[in-house]
């Protein structure tokens, strides 16, 4: 029969100000809910249990559990202390009543404090005298009226353990995030410890050990009996020796197996611990390689950009680009016009000078051959102006001669009138500007293309920089230890690989060792069978029967333990998934599958997988907590006796949403005979009854036995704060 908490009362305990009568909660089987807003007394309520079981309270300032001895003044109601006169005694107590099918028990813990001086501080221990009382326990037959004190300390302890067994208290009492630690899936032994604690599987271990001991002793007794019999043959003794040798080998192998299993556990823990870090380290390595590649690209493009910028100046004066000539299109035509004007004026002036002494003039175009050239042309009988023959005495030859002989021509003659001849000057300008002039039309296009190239390079630089930043951001989420430390990445990957390889080795060793043990055990059984046939006729039959039954029971116990364990694993998986589906059914996201497997060591491995069997990671905090709760509920469900103790949870699903909370309430009542849930997520200050929509749904739900509402009077000073409780169901 499960233990059920019937009542819990507080007297001047934190903000539960006043007598027990004003601060009593009555509870029943099933789901019991205490709704309170922040500061409404949920954690204080929970602290009452910590005091009863552990003599501790959770200090809300430091979030640490502290011994009650040093906290007495702090936990006594401020309002009671404030109202007390000097030398007044204030009672501070927590009392709890619970029952099983036969008795009802009452447990009370408390102290008195006395105000030593006026204006005493409300928290300073030196201003108060504290008088602790011992544990008070009383019990009564459930059918009777009166409680009787229990004075025996062992009996008192047994009664307290009956409420919740010490090894189960961590699974029965938890606050918020503590749930996540109940079963830590990253710790290989955490799940197995919960299974061993919450199920009866340990009983099978215990039975296997004792039946083994009984069988060994029975064999020893029989052998001693046979050894003292002279009729025992040499071959019997030899067989017995052989069996003993095998037995020794079996013991040695069993020890080896233990060490392999130890190595397996240690390395499994290390692998589990490093798994996510290794995944991160490997991902980091991928990021690092990508970053390296991107940084190289960035360097290359930056160099190309720098080269482009450096060459911008050159492009002004480089004939291939001729940027300096940009905008000079009109200057070229101006130049040509001016040059033509110049030549025209010059020619006219030249003609005017020549006409001063003769009416004949050989008007030649500007830049006509000089005297020396004319002489050469005459001698070679060829006109270089028109590139034709000018044979002697022909008209062309005579024309060249007339030019040579024209007035003012000749080597020794100077034409003084053509001062300031700018022909060469203009020629040089033309020559120098020739390549630029040809490019002027293409300059705009060239600048445009260069600008485009520059823009393209800048865009590529920005793009790569963004990519690098993105990679760095993503990489920074992969925590592996010391941030940005490449040595850590390599170390973790090496450590993980090492642990994984040791784990595989231990796994192989375990399998081999188990095979050897199986073979040795089989041979020992054959030896035993042969020995039973070889025993002397007058061996006492009772010894033989005794050994026979003991050995059969031992073997049956060994087989049963394996059978029960294997069945339990498959049932555990079935139950866990059932609970998990129900817990998350009001959530929009579908969850994964909880997978349980027996490992070579003979314990359980847990995985969270998708439908294809691939491991799923990165589930939200809400899903993680639901996984723990589902597995916890499954372990309790597979236990043939269920769970015989109440559950007390303070803010088990705070901030996880109404869907999870609804699923949790529905599922809790299927597993725990009684649950007391302290919660603020059903509170709505705007609502008439202070319950939100889900709170009102639960109010109508038949599986919810009681609902209490804790309230604090509005606008109270700190020293006047007290919790007023109201039973609304």
């Amino acid at each position: 029969m499960a233990s059920i908490i019937n009542q819990i009362s507080f007297q001047n305990f934190f903000n539960y100000y006043g007598s027990f009568e004003n601060n009593t909660y009555e509870f029943s089987k099933g789901v019991n809910i205490v709704v309170a807003d922040n500061g409404g007394g949920k954690s204080k309520f929970f602290n009452g249990f910590l005091w009863l079981f552990y003599d501790e309270i959770l200090d809300s300032d430091t979030k640490l559990r502290k011994n009650i001895k040093n906290q007495a003044v702090k936990i006594c109601s401020d309002k009671a202390k404030y109202e007390a006169a000097v030398n007044d005694l204030i009672e501070c107590n927590v009392a709890l009543e619970f029952s099983d099918n036969r008795f009802r028990y009452r447990i009370c813990k408390g102290f008195r404090i006395k105000k030593s001086k006026a204006n005493a501080s409300l928290i300073d221990n030196s201003d108060w005298q504290v008088f602790f009382k011992g544990l008070e326990v009383s019990k009564k037959d459930i059918a009777l009226l009166e409680f009787h004190e229990v004075y025996d300390e062992d009996e008192q302890r047994r009664i307290l353990d009956k409420l919740i067994q010490p090894n189960l208290r961590e699974y029965s009492l938890f606050q918020g995030e503590e749930i996540d630690k109940l079963i830590d899936f990253n710790q290989a032994d955490s799940l197995n410890r919960a299974v061993k604690t919450l199920t009866d599987i340990n009983k099978y271990d215990e039975l296997e050990k004792i039946t083994k001991y009984v069988a060994e002793r029975a064999e020893k007794d029989l052998n001693e009996s046979v050894a003292s019999n002279d009729a025992a043959s040499q071959s019997y003794r030899r067989k017995l020796d052989e069996k003993n040798v095998r037995k020794n080998s079996l013991d040695i192998e069993s020890e080896r197996l233990k060490s392999y299993e130890h190595s397996y556990t240690e390395n499994k823990n290390e692998v589990d611990k490093l798994e996510s870090l290794n995944e991160n380290a490997e991902s980091r390595k991928v990021f690092d390689d990508k970053l390296k590649e991107q940084n190289a690209k960035l360097k290359e493009i930056k160099e190309e950009y720098d080269r482009l910028v450096e060459k911008l100046n050159e492009r002004f004066f480089d004939g291939n680009f001729a940027w300096i000539a940009m905008g000079c299109e009109n200057e070229v035509s101006n130049f040509k016009e001016k040059l033509n004007n110049y030549r025209e004026i010059r020619t006219i002036k030249k003609v005017a000078v020549l006409s001063e002494n003769s009416n004949q003039i050989n008007l030649l175009p500007p830049d006509s051959p000089d005297t020396v050239t004319l002489q050469t042309m005459i001698e070679r009988e060829h006109c270089y102006v028109c590139n034709r023959d000018a044979k002697k005495d022909t008209e062309p030859w005579k024309h060249i001669l007339s030019l040579l002989n024209r007035k003012g021509s000749g080597q020794n003659k100077t034409v003084d009138i053509f001062k300031n001849d700018l022909n060469d000057f203009f020629g040089e300008i033309q020559l120098g500007a020739q390549s630029y002039v040809g490019r002027i039309g293409a300059i705009q296009n060239s600048i445009h293309r260069t600008r485009e190239k520059e823009q393209e390079l800048l865009e590529r630089i920005t793009k790569i920089k963004d990519k690098i930043k993105g990679l760095r951001d993503d990489r920074s989420h992969l925590i592996i230890g010391d941030e940005d430390n490449m040595i850590d990445v390599r170390q973790i990957m090496a450590q993980y690989k090492g642990a994984l390889s040791r784990l595989q080795k231990a796994e192989e060793d375990i399998i081999k060792s188990k095979n050897r043990i199986e073979s040795l055990t089989e041979n020992i059984r054959k030896d035993e069978s042969e020995l039973s046939r070889m025993r002397p006729q007058d061996t006492p039959k009772e010894y033989e029967i005794h050994l026979d039954i003991s050995t059969d029971i031992r073997n049956a116990a060994q087989r049963t333990k394996l059978r029960v364990f294997d069945n339990m694993i498959s049932k555990l998986e079935e139950e866990a998934n059932k609970h998990f589906r129900n817990l998350i059914k009001y959530n929009e996201l579908a969850g994964g599958i909880l997978k349980f497997e027996k490992n070579p060591r003979g314990t359980i491995d847990f995985n969270y997988v998708d439908e294809a069997g691939n491991e799923v990671g990165g589930a939200s905090e809400g899903f993680q907590r639901m996984k723990v709760l589902a597995v916890l509920m499954a372990i309790i469900s597979v236990n043939p006796y269920g769970y015989l103790y109440p559950l007390l949870a303070d803010a088990p699903l705070s901030a996880f949403g109404q869907g999870f909370i609804k699923g949790f309430f529905e599922e809790t009542e299927k597993v725990f005979p009684q649950s007391i849930i302290l919660i603020k997520d059903l509170y709505d200050s705007e609502s008439e009854n202070k319950l939100n929509k889900l709170g009102n749904e639960l109010l109508k739900n038949v599986s919810v036995s009681t609902i209490y509402l804790n309230q604090i009077p509005k606008n109270s000073k700190q020293v006047e704060v007290y919790t007023k409780l109201k039973k609304i169901k």
Partner: protein, 69 residues
């Protein structure tokens, strides 16, 4: 509660076959006498002595040993 442990061991096929333990006997099996079968008695005494009365191994053995004499 502990009766279930007894029943579970008795359900072992090899054991039940050798000692002719049928489902009806398993259902009725309990830690306290009378016992329908010597093996059931052996097992019940071991379980009770070890897990209910919380005796040491030697005491458990002596209790079992006395069942044959």
């Amino acid at each position: 509660m502990i009766d279930k442990l007894l029943k579970e061991i008795l359900r072992d096929k090899e054991l039940s076959l050798k000692y002719n333990i049928n489902e009806d006997m398993i259902k009725k099996a309990k830690l306290s006498p009378p016992y329908e079968n010597k093996v059931i008695e052996y097992l019940a005494v071991i379980i009770r002595a070890k897990m209910v009365e919380v005796h040491g191994d030697v005491t458990v053995y002596n209790k079992v040993k006395n069942l044959i004499k």
